[in-house]
Symmetry: C2
Amino acid sequence: MANKENRPLPSIDEYLPHIAYDLVIFGFNGKSLKILLLEYDNTSFFALPGGFIKRDENVDDAVKRGLEERTGLKNIFLEQFYTFGNVERPKPEVMRTILEANGFDPKDGHWLLDRFISIAHYALINFDEVNPKPDRLSKSINWYSIDDLPSLMMDHKAIVLKALNVLRNNLENKLVGINLLPDKFTMKELQMVYETVLGEKLRRTTFQRKMLNKDILTRHEKLFTGGAHKAPYLYSFKEH
Amino acid sequence: MANKENRPLPSIDEYLPHIAYDLVIFGFNGKSLKILLLEYDNTSFFALPGGFIKRDENVDDAVKRGLEERTGLKNIFLEQFYTFGNVERPKPEVMRTILEANGFDPKDGHWLLDRFISIAHYALINFDEVNPKPDRLSKSINWYSIDDLPSLMMDHKAIVLKALNVLRNNLENKLVGINLLPDKFTMKELQMVYETVLGEKLRRTTFQRKMLNKDILTRHEKLFTGGAHKAPYLYSFKEH
DNA sequence: TATTATTGTCTCATTTTGTTACAATAATAC
DNA sequence: GTATTATTGTAACAAAATGAGACAATAATA
């Protein structure tokens, strides 16, 4: 089976059946937290980037591969957070529509139309360094703010919400800022990351004291740009 | 294919291939934290209880089913904590040995000898209420203290360690004590649970104050039994 | 009846966090 | 140039949480 451009669908010989992964890729643009979503051609579905596991491939490696294909980035912070395994979660009609819109005509019972469990991961990346590339089945891939998401296919909304929950709980432990900010940043920017992830305002002085006391930041020269006010220091994270 | 007693192996028609679950079932006997392990007949392998997912069954339900079959208990605290998906984790020789020791003779390429990913869960149960029943492939199921485990098959040791880690991180959030203690318990018993899970000693007075301030405990009559000393109160957890 | 070990609570020291205040200062307006 | 403005870094004190020790109460035992 192949589409007009004669590119075949993933073959059951190459991939494990019934097992997929989905990616919630978080980025931060200085104001709000965003995730990458695919839009499929000729359909109204938005979806998380995802993929399948090769028969001789670690799940972790498959996910890294998928992330690199879409963002061009390696060595990204990536964490598995839940495996979604309800019977009703896959929607064969949805998959069929997507495939047909792309010139394929999968037979009933094709493995891609069967039941899938999905091992969901989230990634944290620096917004500015990313140049996302669409899937070969999707017409676009774009950033969407998490408090203004379009409607998502299947259970992808639930996957995003769960990811956000886990991210919030991991905020202190996992040094989330390292992965969402450029190398050097101001205290204000760091605080914005925390506030945006948590979804609440933090007290400036307390936040600043806490971060400085943690002994995880290096202070650099001051940044002589910005507004009509005292210039902030730049900081970077210490080497672990 | 069937063994001497003519019980067939699980059929590929009924179960999803390549997907299994494993259970780390924690219990507490007043002194140490224990987990349930299976011992296979004619082999030296100890293993976590596990199972497969039916084709029309939610993963969660499959796991609940497995837990109930082994402990007789329903409505147990159960949490998925990680999906193990490395290529090298399944050991077909090990599975073959177990099956052969039980009178089966699986052909090469049999689905049970193929690659599996495992969705691992941990359960917290009250030690005293459990009457574990062995698998039909295993000769025994018993409690083993987590600081004195026998050697485990495949990557099951890593699964246990990961479970323990997650449990420790969830200790404050998940009210672990509710599930590991009987309905009524003393402050000392509650402290023992925390100490055993954390693997460290806690200060008695601070622990007591913190627990009482949380407003999660109901105090009952005193318990007039025990040692040559003042009798402790009994406590229970408040309804949600 | 005295002894013993453990429990529940109190007190005070220490640490952490919340809150307010204020001097320093880079850009802008004049 | 000089005053104005908004933001930054930090100090100071208040309030809350935690650490550490002391002690009276008391159920079982000797």
